[in-house]
Amino acid sequence: MEQVPETGAVQRPGRVASSWRRAFNREALTGWLFILPALVGFVLFYLLPSVRAFSISFTDWNLLRPPRPVGLENYEALLADPNFWHALKVTGLYVLFNIPLQTVLALLLAVLMDRLVRSIFVRAVVILPYLLSNVVVAMIFLWLLHPILGYVNVFLGLLGLERQPFFGSPDQALATVAGVNIWRHMGFTALLFYAGLQSIPRSLYEAAAIDGAGEWRMFWRITLPLLRPVTVFVLVTSVIGSFQIFDTVAVATGGGPSYATRVIVWYIYENAFQFFKMGYASAMSMVLFLILVAFTLVQMRVFRANQSDLS
């Protein structure tokens, strides 16, 4: 926090109070000037839109006619809308397909890197997919998983196995989207775990090795417990991100087939930009916001519980 240097008071001559006040005013002015551009950006693109989204959610508005206030109608309609509940269910399922496998694979990869090769080159290779845009990644897998020409199906054919529709089937599309995002995020998540692993003192492993503990035991007794704060952080941030899945759906499936991948943000997008129901879409975004706030509160709670555990 900001504090006046102790020597300052001694060095200053008699007119301390007045010059101090002048300095303060000047400093205040300078401070405001320094934050001005960022503040304008914040007010225009974060603060006002948040307030506006809230107020739009109480209107009926298609952008052509002026908004008509409808009170809580949008929220009531939302609760009665089976598509909304379906979108929530699909999103929840997506998170379940996505997060556990991604986290386990990332942890495995991180431990393997930590144990076998600490080279920056391997880490660079591993995060390559994360540097690609969701659009590029979706494009790659649309081609790789193409029902006829895609290499994965060609390979399945060579093995004498049945070809799979992947994105093209209501049963497989959601899991496929999850798989694609596991591919993109695995290395990045592994990198976060890897950073966490570096903070575990090596002496613990050395001591355990002297006591005759094997790799497996050391993983469960040392690595996993000491990695818990990182794990919690990774889990919560990736669940929050995963809940807002959009790009891959937009490019690869468009919410289909048969609404199998109509996740919540896609449904918000559809309502806003295809059906032009701005009020309804905003109400839904408010509900999404509440869900994510709930996640964050859980995160804070678990984090606090963890910090004492670590020290």
Binding site: G31, F34, I35, P37, L116, R118, I120, A124, Y130, D247
Partner: protein, 301 residues
């Protein structure tokens, strides 16, 4: 860190577990890289041979034709003759992406750094309240903001304009301000105090002392912002479907959805995909260590 301790030496022996560990690591790296190879392979396959070449891992007759097609260096007739579905030109999209990314990275970093310096060092009424609001804003999901932001840009008449595409990003992000403030707080004050006594203005101190000694966090932040901006899809997509302003992500998506169902121009699409990857790949090769460390750091905020 990785000195030859007894423990490290002990695990160097080739046990079955160790072989399995290496195999697993190799498998994960293979899964990471294989799809990228298929992109390259498809991009250098002649469009007419796509079907015959589907099973091979390296095309028998590699060609650069698809790259020339993707960059608009081939006439429409020639393009249609080899099975292309429309004229594609990703050169403009590439230029748009570079411009979009550079503008945002430079201005966002600069304005965020100014604000971060004020939050870290200057005293002014309202400072803590505003900073708290900035922090709270990191919790608001994009889905809440995009509708009002779209309406604002529409009312300003900025749809399909460059300023409309960059506006929400150029002035700040809460994360950038927060990230740099953390660093500035840790900078010793003596340097600034000496300059201040010599009569330097706050802006001079910021420009000549603070920014130069903050190279590391600025590079870290710059890398993170570059990656995120280069890959940004949603906002450019909803405000600029106009051909002349499309960034690469939008152009790829539009090209893919414009082609007839079932038979997109896969070789052209993969050549364009490859072109979208190249800049990121160069960034990784040139600044490998910094990129890895930046991302590693992004989780520890």
């Amino acid at each position: 860190m990785h000195s030859g301790t007894t423990y490290t030496r002990e695990v160097q022996r080739l046990t079955p577990g160790r072989v399995l560990a290496w195999a697993l690591l190799a498998a994960l790296i293979f899964v990471t890289l294989f799809p990228l190879w298929i992109v390259v392979k498809t991009a250098i396959t002649h469009p007419k041979e796509l079907f015959e070449q589907a099973t091979v891992l390296f095309p028998t007759d590699p060609t650069l034709l698809n790259f020339r097609r993707a960059l608009g260096m081939v006439s429409l007739e020639e393009n249609l003759a080899v099975g292309g579905v429309a004229n594609i030109n990703f050169l403009t999209a590439m230029r748009n992406s570079v411009l979009f990314t550079l503008t945002i990275v430079v201005f966002q970093t600069f304005f965020s750094a100014m604000a971060a310096y004020a939050f870290a060092r200057l005293r002014f009424p309202g400072r803590d309240v505003i900073f708290f609001l900035f922090l709270a804003a990191t919790m608001i999901p994009g889905a809440v903001l995009f509708i009002p932001n779209f309406i604002l840009i529409k009312n300003l008449g900025w749809l399909n304009t460059f300023q409309g595409m960059v506006a929400p990003f150029v002035l700040m992000t809460p994360f950038a301000v927060f990230f740099l403030r953390q660093f500035f707080l840790a900078v010793p004050k003596e340097l600034e105090e000496a300059a201040y006594l010599d009569g330097a203005t706050p802006f001079y101190i910021f420009w000549r002392i603070i920014l130069p000694i903050s190279k590391t966090p600025l590079v870290t932040l710059g890398i993170l912002t570059t990656i995120n901006t280069w890959n940004e899809f949603f906002w450019p997509w909803i405000v600029s479907k106009d051909n002349s302003l499309q960034v690469l992500t939008v152009a790829l998506k539009m090209f893919q959805s414009q082609t007839p169902q079932g038979s997109p121009d896969w070789t052209g699409l993969m050549a364009a995909t490859f072109l979208a990857i190249v800049p990121v790949f160069i960034l990784l090769v040139v600044l490998g260590r910094q990129v890895v460390e930046s991302l590693q750091f992004s989780g520890l905020k």
